[in-house]
């Protein structure tokens, strides 16, 4: 300790405190945009992330090919069956579209036309702490990505919302993260609620659909999509399936536990919705 005091150790602690304050103020000031120091650090380390991600993906691919060839063959057969089923569903889709129009009217929703502008990005890192669920993407403000943009998979399943943007990287807060809050709707019954992340459910990879209407009759497997209320997020993005309906501890309202459709642990490429138009 004498050594610590003799060498001006207190000065080091003061410098640390000042840096802490500087970063804290910076992150509060810049909001969704990364503060300049974090931006530089993450921009410089972006190639490292990409290389590690590529190498790890390649290694996993080799491992899967070598040790799970039989499983891959079975999966291929299963996918072929699914393609046939999907082709059948497409034929039924036109009828569903007409029904959709009617149901929109029932829900008194305004008819909207949305033109999504996509930006593809690779997932270069996953949550680095166990207290939140985030993904780091390979693109940022240089590709026109902004905080608040929705992120989906190639099949249109919602992954999360961009929470922080740097020059060539961005952080996505996934739908199971505790800060998630957006309108959700059960597509079968049109029961609207609020999709919210819940810490206890986050560790199980799930989220809540809160504040369900009293008469809502939901069953396990019901599909939940975004409602688009408030026009902040696009409507109709698939979130997941209802796993069960529960009453909250206060007994005042009911909520559904939703199992996300996106496989958040194994995402490789995602699409950021940079823009969507709402034509009324």
């Amino acid at each position: 300790m004498k050594d610590f005091l003799r060498k001006n150790g207190i000065l080091l602690l003061v410098i640390a405190l000042l840096l802490s304050i500087l970063i804290g103020v910076g992150s509060a000031f810049f909001g969704g945009n990364a503060d300049p120091l974090s931006n530089v650090a993450n921009t410089v380390t972006a190639p490292v992330r990409s290389v590690i991600s590529t190498v790890a993906d390649w290694a996993e691919g080799v491992y899967t090919y070598v040790f799970h060839y039989g499983e891959l063959q079975e999966e291929l057969d299963s996918l072929r069956t699914q393609v046939a089923q999907l082709e059948d569903e497409v034929r039924q889709g036109q009828e569903a579209s007409r029904e959709n129009e009617q149901l929109r009217s029932l829900l008194d929703l305004q008819e909207k036309r949305r033109d999504f502008v996509f930006e593809s990005a690779k997932v270069t890192a996953r949550s680095t702490v166990n207290w939140e669920s985030t993904l780091t993407l390979s693109k940022g403000s240089s590709a026109g990505i902004e905080a608040g943009d929705c992120v989906i998979t190639e099949t249109g399943v919602l992954v999360g919302v961009v929470s922080q943007v740097g020059y060539n990287w961005s952080t996505v807060s996934t739908i199971i993260n505790t800060d998630t809050e957006m309108g959700g709707i059960v597509s079968r019954t049109y029961s609207a609620g609020v999709l919210e992340g819940d810490f206890a459910l986050m560790t199980q990879g799930k989220l809540k659909l809160n504040y369900l209407p009293e008469g809502a009759q939901l069953v396990s497997g019901d599909e939940v999509v975004t409602s688009g209320k408030g026009d902040v997020f696009p409507s109709g993005l698939v979130v997941g399936q209802v796993e069960g309906v529960f009453t909250d501890p206060s007994g005042q309202s009911r909520y559904a536990v939703v199992n996300p459709s996106a496989k958040l642990d194994s995402l490789v490429e995602v699409f950021v919705i940079k823009d969507f138009e709402i034509v009324e």
């Binding site: 610590f4 602690l13 840096l19 380390t45 991600s53 790890a56 985030t134 929470s163 810490f199």
Partner: protein
């Protein structure tokens, strides 16, 4: 020890930190066990603080805290001061109460991990993120799973210390 030797010494410590950071940030989060991935950076601070003492522990803690804040998402700045303070305390405790040995490092690692997880739990309770049992379901496995990595981190930084540590010339 000249300034050049000092820079050389801490560059080698930084190189030692590199594989720890890559593991912590990019490799282990891909393969969580029971949904949990370990925290390795505090273990690195503990190992260096135990080996090098309070002053060097503070400096290394400051550097690691800064790196942690800048390269990991969602930082608010507190880790810079927190890690510097932890480095100072662990360095002083190992100098005066414990020893520059693996058991000393294990105790210090448990201390810093416990403090970090304790703060996370307290923060969770304060902002009503979740109930205590739910928070402990993450904190306890995270603490234990991280602590398991102490021997590896200790061996890595002890090897660096034997090469350039203390007042040895690089």
């Amino acid at each position: 020890m000249t300034r050049r030797d000092l820079i050389h010494k801490w560059l080698i410590y930084a190189l030692g930190l590199l594989p720890v950071w890559v593991l912590d940030a990019y490799i282990l989060p891909r393969y969580p066990i029971g949904g949990i991935s370990p925290m390795l950076l505090p273990l690195a601070v503990a190992a260096v603080a135990v080996l090098e003492g309070a002053y060097a522990g503070t400096g290394f803690g400051l550097g690691v805290g800064l790196w942690w804040e800048l390269t990991y998402p969602g930082g608010f700045g507190g880790l810079v001061f927190g890690m510097a303070l932890a480095g100072m305390i662990m360095g002083a405790v190992s100098q005066y109460a414990l020893s520059q040995s693996f058991p000393g490092c294990l105790i210090c690692s448990a201390g810093v991990l416990g403090a970090l997880d304790g703060l996370r739990v307290a923060q969770g309770l304060l902002v009503h993120t979740a109930q205590l049992p739910a928070l402990l379901q993450v904190a306890v496995p995270e603490f234990l799973y991280s602590l398991i990595w102490t021997p590896l981190i200790w061996l890595l930084f002890r090897a660096v210390y034997h090469r350039v540590g203390g007042t040895k010339l690089a």
